[in-house]
Amino acid sequence: MGNKISVKKLALLSILILFFLPAVLSSSTGERPIKYFLQVELQPETQMLQAKEKISWTNLSHDYVPDLQLHLYWNAFKNELSTVAKESKTEGLFKRYQVRKDEWGWIKITSMTTSDGRDLVPAASFISPDEPFNPDDQTVLRVVLPEPLAPSESITLNLEFQAKVPRNGLRAGYYQDGFFISQWFPKPGVYEEGKGWNCHQYHLNSEFFADFADFEVKITVPEKFVVGACGEEVEKTIEPKSKKVTHTYVAQNIHDFAWTASPRFLKIERLFKAQEEIAPQEYRQVAAMLDLSPEEIKLPDVRMILLIEKQHKNQIDRHFRALKAAIKYYGLWYGPYPYRTITMVDPPFRTGSGGMEYPTLFTAGTSVLLDKDVLSPEGVIIHEFGHNYWYGMVANNEFEEAWLDEGINTYSTGKAVAAAYGPGKLPLRFNGLPLTWFINVPAVYDWQTDRLLSGTVAKLDPIVNYSWKFYNSGSYGLNVYQRASTALNTLERLVGQKTMAKIMRTYQQRFRFRHPKTEDFIQVAKEISGKNLDWFFQEFFYSTKDFDYGISSVKSEEKDNKVSGIIDSWPNKNTTYQPQKNKEQKIKKYETTITLRRYGEARVSPEEKLKLKVEFENGEVEWREWDGQSRWARFTFEKTAPIKSAVLDPEHIWLVDSNITNNSYISSGPGLKILATTSNLIWLIENLLWTIGNLL
């Protein structure tokens, strides 16, 4: 009996394993559904790419898949009819992308066959998956397969394509003989079981989404070019006749491949030696915070490659120092960087490709004149490297939930920059010159500027939103980066630094080489913190409510014991009135009334009460709590001294508060600062008036 049951169980288990294996493999063990083999030649004179591509795609779902959907991103720059061009027209003065004649970019598939030679070109057509429908957009190509692809089956496509590099294609571009080539090859979307292809057209504000894959890429360029690319260079062959060089790169388990070529690059390699960069004490501190052993968080060495424009060669050390800090802190906090190389590119001049992430490669961007106290390019280097964690490994859908990489990475960048450098001066520039050379500019932490900026867009859009559905580029950027980062910093203060560190590490480790969604992050946050945080995400991520609590008024007056009216002598047990008997007994009493208000629509959870700290002139301190649900609350204190100060949220937990300036009261405020600000203003206006007056 027992044996029979075991056999049955075993059979059932085998069926279950067979049934769920593809999905399990794809999501947890990180089996890659795609393999790419690409051969590309750059023709710099015509800014053309001639390429061959072999895509092997395996159906890891249980669906029968009737088609393939491929991104052809560069067609966004083909004409004025693309979705990117149309969306750009609705932007205001500061357009992210400007349609310019003679600077078009495009991609054209000249041949597409299956491995058995069947021509798929006739079965291909452009589609517009997103609303509003744009029949003229050519950034998504649907290819109907000769027969639906069964679960676990693979298909291999052989393509030949030509592409014209856009002059300034948002993130790819060229200028003279400098090229940055990204989103350049036909790339399948992500097939989601039961839902079909997730393959959005290219939008002005959107970034990307793709499946993990293995790449082998051969890049042929004239020999004067210095080349950098994702992955590792394994071969370099020179063809003396044509004076061309072919660089071969391989990369495993990444979901995009970008490369760059310019004769003005300097290529420098250095090694991140973990043993030299991280002291045992640091390992112990971080391990204690994460409840892990120091051995569990040990970091490997990483080969760092820098491609820097010759004009910036005096900044080589500055670049490497920032990269080392990024590898160190991201590695310690979220887990080791798993690839052997990282390529940091100071993008070719005027290619518009700076500050962008690709797996194992990123672009930074700098200027010839820098102030040492302004953390630029450091901030962008740390941020873009950080995307290897948030986007690269934890590969959320940037079209649909961009905050998951941009917001989390902005939060992480702020922490890493603060740990490595402390606060940095604001990067104000004029005409290529740092203004910090001439005027006093405050040094700030990222979280401080993030919270300031995030308040401006809270009412426009929720953080969790499709990237093309934001009010405009500004709302997209500020919500997805700064507001999300501010919300995460608030979460950190709410659950505690240690718990937050564990949330972030768990989320990274659990979803490495997978495609998590916002719910996954929320689930991890709830699980690790042991708190119901649904309200938090509902209020700050899914809604457009402004969060602003403040002190509305403070009144502190000497209490007069004289009472008007008829006070009879009939005994009253609970009376508070005590007539004064003689002068000696007279002690001054002050009644202080503080009114708090909820100016915004957003609310704290009733469990997470707002704290009010009140200090009196005699040194007494009182704390009160308010659940923050009603529109206002009033607290009254009777003390022997008047109020000195009152601070709402004195522990500064609620960074999401869009106006912290109304959170406090002090009897004698910053008069000197107001005077200084006013006198500066007057001086500025005097100069302006005198200048205007002298124009004529």
Partner: protein, 286 residues
Amino acid sequence: MRIRYYLKLGFKTGIKKFKLVIYLWLIVLILAMLAAAPLNYLLRINISHLFIEKPPFMPFELHLAEIFIANQNFFSPYFYFLFFLFLLVILFSIFLNAGLFSRLITSESRITFSEFLADGSYYFGKFFLATLIYLPFFILLFTLFRLLALPVDIFTEKAVSEWPMVIGSNLKILLFILLWTVFKLIFDLVRIVMIFESKKVLPALEQTFSFLKKHFFSLWGLYLILGLIFVVFSAIFLIVGRLLSSSQLFSLIITILLTQAIVIFRIFARTVFIGLEYCYYKENKI
């Protein structure tokens, strides 16, 4: 030797009639205070009771930015107010310039506020007309600037590094300043001729051009040298200003005095410019 001589004359005129500088400074200060009053009110409403911890939770400047963001509705009408104020200032400055030029040129060494105002009223019409006549020259100035900046634009357009752009854009600013000094030199001289020779606008303009045929480069050279001295002194003022902190009362008072000294110095520099030009014209006119 001649350079020092004329510079000395210019400075002498400025110093001798320093009262004018004080009048102008007070007028500008009052106007600036008027313009800044709403902002001061906003500051007092929002942060007169702000509790700043030690160390501060965030730099004070960010609190200012926060007030700006939180009170965006206030700023729209305020900017209109500023715009109209500045329009008025342009008109008013014609009046002030009339008073300034006239009192600087007059041989009387005693200056009174009422005479200054009286001269402003007396010459206002002529100065207003002169201003209208300058407008086409403004267009000419910008056209000339665009033309002269063209080689710089071509140079930077094909650049393969940022250096040519930084150099080019700063060169363009310098070029504009140089052209501007020419423009100012010419039209200051027109106004001097208008008063000194009691001429109408167009004859004054004609005489100015005929005078400058011979004396342009000497006068422009003097103008530039004086400009350079002004720039050097301004830089010194700014460097000293940067070293002062506004967190201590004493230091703040010094800062306020210094900033007002800069404004006075700017106005004084203007009187020296006019004084120099006037002296040069007086001594070299045919």
